[in-house]
């Protein structure tokens, strides 16, 4: 048997409230947030090969900051804005999944 992953609940469609089962996919959908340029997130899973910036360093938009090896390719991540490196969340040699916060700027 496949266990149901649904829960009873209320669904609002055009102002009418319907009694119905809500699916896991519906219940677990992530709320949308506006992308924040100051938070640099990995767009692809891979291994951090080299970090070329330091915390506290002033940086210019477009400067290479991290080499991320993914699918046998070295991808160079560029600084997304003019600012300061606030915190680096990854270390060289670390394997990271997609969507990992790598560097925070201010």
């Amino acid at each position: 048997m496949i266990e149901s992953n649904q829960k009873t609940g209320i669904l609002n469609i055009d102002g009418t409230l319907y009694e119905t089962n809500l699916t896991k996919k519906y219940l677990e959908k992530k709320p949308w947030t506006e992308p924040d340029k100051r938070q640099y997130v990995s767009h692809i899973p891979g291994t951090v090969v080299q970090i070329m910036v330091k915390e506290g360093q002033q940086v210019k938009k477009g400067t290479p900051m991290i080499i991320l090896e993914a699918m046998k390719m070295n991808n160079i991540a560029l600084v997304p804005l003019d600012g300061t490196v606030k915190k680096i969340y990854v270390t060289e040699g670390q394997k990271i999944p997609k969507g990992t916060l790598m560097i925070e700027f201010e």
Binding site: T16, Y18, Y26, A70, I96, P97
Partner: protein, 516 residues
Amino acid sequence: MAVKKKILELQKKREEALQGGGEKAIEKQHAMGKLTARSRILSLVDDNSFNEYDLFVQHDARDFGMDKKVLHGDGVVIGTGTIEGDPIGIFAQDFTVAGGSLGSMHAKKITKIMDHALKLRMPLIGINDSGGARIQEGVNALAGYGEIFYRNTIASGVIPQLSVILGPCAGGAVYSPALTDFVFVVDKISKMFITGPEVIKTVLGEEISAEDLGGAKVHSQITGNAHFYAESEEECFEQIKKLLSFIPWSNTQQAKKYPPKSPRPEYNIDEIIPEDKTKPYDVRNVIKAIVDDSDFLEVQEYWATNVVIGFARINGETVGFVCNQPLVLAGVLDVDSSDKAARFIRFCDAFNIPIVTLVDLPGYLPGIDQEHAGVIRHGAKLLYAYSEATVPKITLILRKAYGGGYIAMSSRHLRADFVFAWPDAEIAVMGPEGAANIIFKKDIAAAPNPEEVRQQKIQEYKDKFANPYVAAAKGYIDSVITPQETRNLMIHCLDISVNKDIENTVPYKKHGLPPF
């Protein structure tokens, strides 16, 4: 006598080849809870009906010491047989022989039976149980997969193609099942993925079991790749036989007719739908109250459950049901349910199976996730599939048909042949609450007692539009009928549709461009 000697020699050769990978490998296969390739075929086909071909095929690989290896039948069993008297072509990969790995001769056996099934216009069943490409054979193995995919595509819509995943089916190999019409999986035995857990671990550092990555439950509930889920191989074979009983041998045939039966008395068509339109019910009970012996074979039972699809018979004739399911997400259409229904409609249309659509939906699922997941593109598939389908199409509006959902669910405008509604049906742009809030926004806001006025306006809107007669007055629906009249009317519609003219309904084209 010389001939007798030759016959004995043949028997010996057969016995040897039928050993497959040998006793030890067979023991291993059994220990994994799996049957062997030949016993799988024999459990599926009618007794004494299976004829095997290419038993003596040998691989032609010469590198990496392969020239010294004998692989009986090259790891796959092919043949023809009958199921409930109807012909089928079948192949089953033999995991006991080199892990069922696919080399060039293995692939040639599969494509031989595919060509055979297509030429003879009979369903093709593929049992997949293979470690993947035989790496020693290099690009020849890849060429083999390509030849299979091409034939899957060419045979699509001509003969029914069933894929049964009874072991690993990984990498490029998964695309053959994905190109076929129905995929069967068995708990703990089936595994399907493009990149397996090992690759994911090495490349991404993420650990996941094969079961959690691409097991039977995952493909039945999350991805929608599988159409039928079973707990055991035996149950799976019963599902295959049942499905085959509902569908024709090919696109030039009709499904077999069975002796008509009445719906079972425990499904009382008058007592299924709650009067309150915001209350849920299980639309499968409505189907069971209409169809022969209340026997409904649901397809993709665990995925995108806000729409219900499947086969049943009305007066002995196979029909495909497409129904909104108010029990789940109020029966809304969304990305997955549109995909699910659209593909099923195209199957029915390709194989001459009339489509019955039961409508009860409040519209499309609102949400940023839905918009970003491409509900426009996916939702369009449903409109396309209904508009394009030329098989008899019967639509019954049970309760609500609002907005774009009304149009999409096999409306008159998309060329349904018959459109009916039950007396309780509401056909409108949206529900009374939403409509009143928009139309009477100013009146409500200006009133000293806005809530009271809102309720009053909702009632006003309900009285005017929340019924089937506005649509009936325009001829958009053909009749307003009682639940009790439903089955007989459907039998009548199916009876008078046998000669439906489908010539010249569309201009000449090479093919259309459905939004996939």
